[in-house]
C-alpha cells in the first residue's frame, strides 16, 4: 500500500498559513453578513435559503434568537455571539500579533464553560431578554477561544 503523504517546503507551509488566516477572516465576514441578511427583507427565496443553510449548524429557536425589525436573525443568540466575536477578535489578533499562551487560553476556556453552565441555570430566574444576552455572552467567549486558537500563535506573518 502506498503511503499517503506529500513532501512540502516550509515556505509553502508559511504561505498556506497566512492564506488560511485571511480566508477565514473573509469567510467570517460573509457569515456575519448572512446572519443579518433576513432583516433587510430581500424576499422569501433568499430568506428560505439563508435560514435553511444555517439550520445545519443552529436550532434557530424563535425565543432564543435576536429579532430586529420583526425579523429573526439567521442563528440563535449564542451562535450570533460566536460569529461576531470570532470576526472582531480575529481582526484584532491578526493585526496585534498576539502570542499564544496556554494559561490565557485555559482561563478563557474555564470562564466560557462557567458562563455556558450559567446559561443552562438562568432560565429558572432570568427573563428571556436577559437569557438571550447571557447566551450571547457565552457565544462571545467561545468565539474568542476559537479565534485565539487560530490567530493566537502569530498575526499577519504567523510569527
Amino acid at each position: 500500500m502506498t503511503k499517503m503523504e506529500f513532501s512540502v517546503s516550509q515556505i509553502f507551509i508559511e504561505e498556506i498559513e497566512t492564506k488560511i488566516k485571511i480566508f477565514l477572516l473573509v469567510l467570517f465576514f460573509i457569515l456575519n453578513f448572512l446572519i443579518i441578511l433576513p432583516i433587510f427583507g430581500f424576499g422569501d427565496i433568499i430568506n428560505f435559503f439563508v435560514y435553511k443553510l444555517f439550520s445545519f449548524v443552529c436550532h434557530q429557536s424563535d425565543s432564543l434568537s435576536f429579532w430586529i425589525n420583526g425579523s429573526k436573525l439567521a442563528v440563535c443568540s449564542r451562535c450570533t455571539g460566536i460569529y461576531q466575536a470570532f470576526f472582531i477578535s480575529s481582526v484584532l489578533f491578526y493585526f496585534k500579533n498576539i502570542k499564544f499562551q496556554k494559561t490565557y487560553f485555559i482561563k478563557i476556556l474555564v470562564i466560557s464553560i462557567i458562563v455556558f453552565i450559567f446559561t443552562k441555570i438562568a432560565p429558572f430566574f432570568a427573563n428571556l431578554s436577559l437569557l438571550n444576552l447571557l447566551r450571547w455572552l457565552s457565544g462571545v467567549l467561545i468565539g474568542i477561544i476559537f479565534s485565539y486558537s487560530i490567530y493566537g500563535n502569530g498575526g499577519k506573518s504567523g510569527k
Partner: protein, 177 residues
Amino acid sequence: MENNNLTQNSKLYLDAPILGGLLMAFFSVMPVISIFNLLCCMWLVIGGAVSYIIASKKDDYIPRSTDGLIYGALSGVFGWIFNGVLTFIFMGLKAKKFALARERLLNMNAPEAERIVRLVDKFGFKMIVLFLSLGLIIFYLVFPTIGGALAQALSGKNKKDKVQKELPKEEKKGDEV
C-alpha cells in the same frame, strides 16, 4: 540559516484529513446523530481535531505551529466532498419518505407550509439540495479548521519555540550530508 529552515521539506499526511473528513461527513448526514451539529458544529470541529490528532500520532511526525490549521482545513475540504456524496446517496434512499413529507405539509393547510412546498416545487428538490450542499462549504472550511487549531492549542504543540527546536536537528543532518 533561516532560509534553510524555510526551504527545508517536511511531510504532509493525506490519510489524516481524509479520515477526519469521512468522520465529520458521516456523522453530519446520519439522521439522529447529526443533531449534535447544532452544538457549534460539533462533528465538524471534532473531524478537524481528529485529523490533526491522527497526523500528530505518526511516528515520523515533526510538529509545526501551523499543523492544526492545515490538517483542519484539509479535512474540511474532504468532509465537504464526502458530505455531498453521502447526502445524495441518503436522498436517493429516502426519496419515498420525502414525497410523503411533502404531501403531509400540503395537507396541513398552513400557509407557511404551503409556501415552503411551492418554493421547493419551483426549484426542484434536487436543485435545492445541491444549492445547500454547495453552500455548506462555508461551514466545512471554517469549523474543521477551528477544530484542528483547538486540538493543537489544547495539546500544547503550537508554541513556535518547540517547533523551532525540532527544525535545527533536521538541518544538522542535512549539513552533514
